[in-house]
Symmetry: C2
Subunit: 384 residues, 2 copies
């Protein structure tokens, strides 16, 4: 029997039935009060999620990468200098995005899996001031949650704007747009919120709007001014025809997310992350990356000696329909990754760990059956 | 009782239940054989629809406008010269898009509603050669279907590439990518195919790929090379996480569209268009725009003396939940528009005409009840 695959990858994340129904319902016309109400509700909830009163939140039809490019196009002119601390695949995406638009990119290079040191960024900015620092909160290639608060603090002190890829972190780990002094933060519908992919969002500070005024990079589809103008209509709209069905699903996803509230959702992510990590450790596998206690979105796991990590992801998908993520870049074949952010319950995690146990045993790794599940149960039984 | 609005606007068009179910079904993971099959089938059917064996068809997550911008970014360098015959809102969008990227835009200006004269374009290109001509097949602001075949012929003879906005025409009126010598044609999921908005597609000729090789405008999210590379994988993918649910819906929409086949779908559009036009004429209203017999996507109608066109669209929406489109630009308040492309049946058109009859009567216009409906029935009864 064909069953849907079980996605334990870092996005898209599992879509709740309420969201599927909303995106499968009749389409609301995108100009008028019906869609205006969706825009208003989604924007207000995203502002709560970003923890901002001051920022404008814009909704664009694209993947997260499109949202990131919008930040480059709207804030910069060719030749502007930016700083990117390089510690994984998505930091590299920032670098490529900036370079492709003619920005001058300064970097400090870390081994993948490293937590960026605010002191390094401070020293680099002291030596060479830049217009902005481009950061990635959840470096999904390694699982590391970077210390955005501390990094933003040093960047602000050095007069640099702070632009954050929060695509795979917003809603899963703490984020404080206003309190941390963030200028742009980009998120996506298909990550911690568990809507379908297709909508990216950007929170934009006053300082970023001011930069936007003088930024000369060519832009049209992602021109924030157009989004701002249409969002200010009596019935808020998008300038171009948006992915209406995805927006309907996103509205439903936020409704679910806010049933528990932000604090409870973050606590759930912490618990699920710990269960995965304890479970995997109980199998005798090693975890990858620094700051594991903070890394609530993705767990990167070193493949055991003698087993290629891609064999594990291929086999668990073939045998159990369970989609984990392979290693990227220098980690290809060396690590595999479990995504555990979004609409996961405790039992979703447990079934994934059971599939991993059986897969590793089939690949000849000595597994004590039930041990990963038992460790995860240990975490869940602590629950107050 | 809250009912879904009846959309008789030029896109998004009505979504068939089969499409709603597909986009509300469990999400297929976007890397792997499941999504690869969707990509393969959708791309193959779009090639049939474009009437191309030679072009590469790329699928991007964005509105149609994003697809148009992709053509600018991928084919041109700043300072390149293009020619845009200006005869409506969407020609103006081409001009704005090109200008925002530093292209030099040469134009010939027509009154809105005019059918562009190939001789004018020929004369302009003879006087001043350009790299490309940017055309709009269905100028939805006026209802006019522009003579792309003839325009492409003169452009090709003058050595200019031909780039076509076919967003609101592909699948509704004849289009022949290979035979007409088109270089780029951009389409969208939410128009004649009646899928949800969120996916744009571009067919790209060899000549356009060659231009792409030397084009230097900054690009990343819409970089066609990335789409080409990922589409060539064993299991075709998108480079970035696509709007998966919209793609699932698009697959279902194409399945429906191809049940009848392209020829039958085009004939249906011609018939529905004629029924709308005969119906509206039977009410004593005047149609707007040249070449009415070719204009199978949208009918622009002059508001009767003494009635503002926006009053008609507001009132029919308020009273009957029927969404027509208002006039744009210089036509605001003067014309209103009925979209009749996509998944419309004969009776969908008839109910729209009945709503229009009742609305006009309520606004004090002398209506012979049933006359528009009778005229439409006249067209449908001719059916073989």
């Amino acid at each position: 029997m064909d069953r849907p695959e079980i996605i334990l990858a870092p996005g898209p994340t599992p879509i709740p039935p309420e969201v599927l129904l909303a995106q499968g319902g009749p389409l609301v016309y995108h100009r008028g009060p019906g869609f205006g109400n969706i825009m208003r509700e989604v924007t207000a909830r995203l502002k709560t999620l970003y923890r901002t009163d001051r920022a404008e939140v814009l909704l664009m039809t694209s993947s997260g990468t499109g949202g990131l490019e919008s930040a480059i196009q709207n804030v910069f002119s060719a030749g502007d200098e930016v700083f990117v601390p390089m510690a994984g695949f998505f930091a590299d995406r920032w670098k490529k995005l900036a370079t492709s638009h003619g920005l001058v990119v300064r970097t400090v290079d870390y081994e993948w899996g490293t937590k960026i040191r605010p002191d390094d960024v401070d020293a680099a900015l002291a030596e060479h001031p830049v217009k902005a620092v481009l950061l990635t909160q959840s470096e999904t290639s390694t699982g590391v949650i970077q210390p955005i608060r501390e990094l933003a603090e040093v960047a602000n002190a050095r007069g640099a704007m702070v632009i954050v890829d929060a695509v795979s972190s917003l809603g899963a780990v703490p984020f404080e747009f206003d309190a941390w002094g963030i200028d742009v933060a980009v998120g996506g519908s298909q990550k911690a919120l568990s809507a379908s992919p297709g909508i990216a969002f950007a929170a934009v500070s006053d300082r970023a709007w001011a930069a936007h005024e003088t930024a000369t990079l060519p832009r049209f589809y992602f021109d924030w001014s157009a989004y701002k103008t249409f969002a200010a209509l009596k019935d808020p709209e998008n300038p171009w025809t948006p992915a209406i069905s995805v927006m309907q699903g996103l509205q439903a996803a936020l409704e679910l997310y806010f049933q528990d509230g932000v604090e409870a959702a973050l606590a759930r992510h912490e618990r699920l992350s710990r269960a995965v990590k304890d479970g995997v450790r109980a199998l005798g596998l090693d975890l990858f990356g620094e700051g594991l206690e903070d890394n609530w979105t993705v767990t990167a796991i070193r493949a055991p000696e003698g087993i290629d990590a891609d064999t594990i992801t291929d086999r668990i998908r073939a045998d159990f329909g369970c989609v984990l993520a392979p290693g990227q870049g220098p980690l290809k074949g060396k690590v595999f990754r479990i995504g555990h952010f979004g609409y996961f319950s405790e039992l979703d995690i447990i079934r994934g760990l059971a599939a991993l146990e059986m897969t590793l045993e089939r690949l000849g790794f000595p597994v004590k059956r039930g041990s990963a599940v038992a460790a995860a149960e240990g975490v869940f039984q602590e629950r107050p």
